[in-house]
Amino acid sequence: MYKLIRNIHLLLGLSAAFFILVYGVSAVQMAHQFAIRPHISTAEVKLRPGLTGREAAQILMDRYGYRGDLSGSQAAGANLQFTMTRPGGADLVTYAASTGNARVERRELPLLGFLNRLHHLHGTDHTDMAMNAWAWILGWISVTLILLGATGVYMWFRLYNERVIGSILLGVNLCVSIGLLALLRR
């Protein structure tokens, strides 16, 4: 039994380690509010005149490789504006329906910003399949964390020479965290 649990702990941990690091590092970024400054670049794209926001976005995705969740289109003067958002950044498109000119302002997030967005990415109702796939990764990581905790405690309990220090640490952890949660829930 011990050997089986140890192998489950090892294999789950190694396979999920890089994903868990994403959540850990981005949590440090959020807790300490390290600044995130996007890199901004622009591109001009010539589309057909008279398109709706959705049609223009579809052409940008199909022919020019843009992608992400599409926001609703808004009128900005004589132009249409919409955004395609993905964890790595966002593309703000200003489309002139009269001329067909589209100006794409790309806001590329640095690594920490990207990890921050991944941390918040959830739900399988995105139009971008990669974003939906990440939501399943999140589910898998969540179950993995619970299993790593449970199997870890089981393995510690079987290490007889670690019981005293371990019991103190686990006792402190459970008393403080459950106590604080109960006080917070009041």
Partner: protein, 199 residues
């Protein structure tokens, strides 16, 4: 030398895990709450607790000063942060207090000269999700929230430490185990693929 180092890394891995065990479970539950889309305060179907307080706003007062007057009149919820004063879609002045337990919203109904106070209390699942998101960045003056966020800080660093120490332990002491090499390789490959797909 490596054996001694690995011995210490194992101790750190075990102790960090035990010191933040409940937070590992909390992080896992929080991930499942958003993955399974547990109902939030607005979609739970639970009606908010309602009460009404007579109030007349000064005829020439600004939104900010009226918001501050409402803030003084309506007791802030336990563990609530700084109130958020804003106007809603119907142009009514709202003062919102968000806390781990949900939302307390005071809405000024000017023509009826009263404040309507709605208390939205979230489910235990959304409470746990909110609790996992509380960090030292919140800068709350509430001692319970401060204590929680500092323990959360320890838990976050423990998670990073456990990840790195766990990888070391897997590589240093179980590298002969073929499945361990495959698990690390598959995990790394999946991570790289997702990194570029999401980027």
């Amino acid at each position: 030398m490596t054996k001694r180092f690995t011995w210490w890394i194992r101790r750190i891995h075990i102790y960090a895990g035990l010191l933040s065990f409940s937070f590992l479970i909390l992080f896992g539950v929080a991930g499942l709450v958003v993955t399974c889309k547990a109902p939030d305060i607005f979609s739970s179907g639970e009606p908010p607790a309602l009460r009404s307080i007579p109030f007349t706003a000064g005829a020439s007062a600004s939104d900010r000063s009226v918001g501050k007057a409402i803030e003084a009149l309506v007791a802030a919820p336990p563990h609530g942060g700084e109130p958020y004063i804003h106007r809603d879609d119907a142009n009514r002045l709202n003062v919102d207090w968000y806390s781990v337990n949900g939302l307390l919203r005071a809405t000024l109904i000017e023509n009826e000269q009263r404040i309507e106070v709605r208390q939205y209390r979230n489910s235990i699942w959304r409470f746990l999700d909110n609790a996992h998101a509380a960090t030292v960045a919140d800068k709350s003056g509430d001692p319970v929230v401060r204590a929680w966020t500092w323990y959360m800080e320890i838990a976050i660093w423990s998670l990073v430490g456990m990840c790195l120490s766990g990888m070391w332990l897997g590589v240093a002491s179980r590298w002969h185990f073929r499945s361990a090499r495959i698990a690390l390789g598959v995990g790394f490959a999946a991570f790289v693929i997702f990194f570029f797909l999401e980027r």
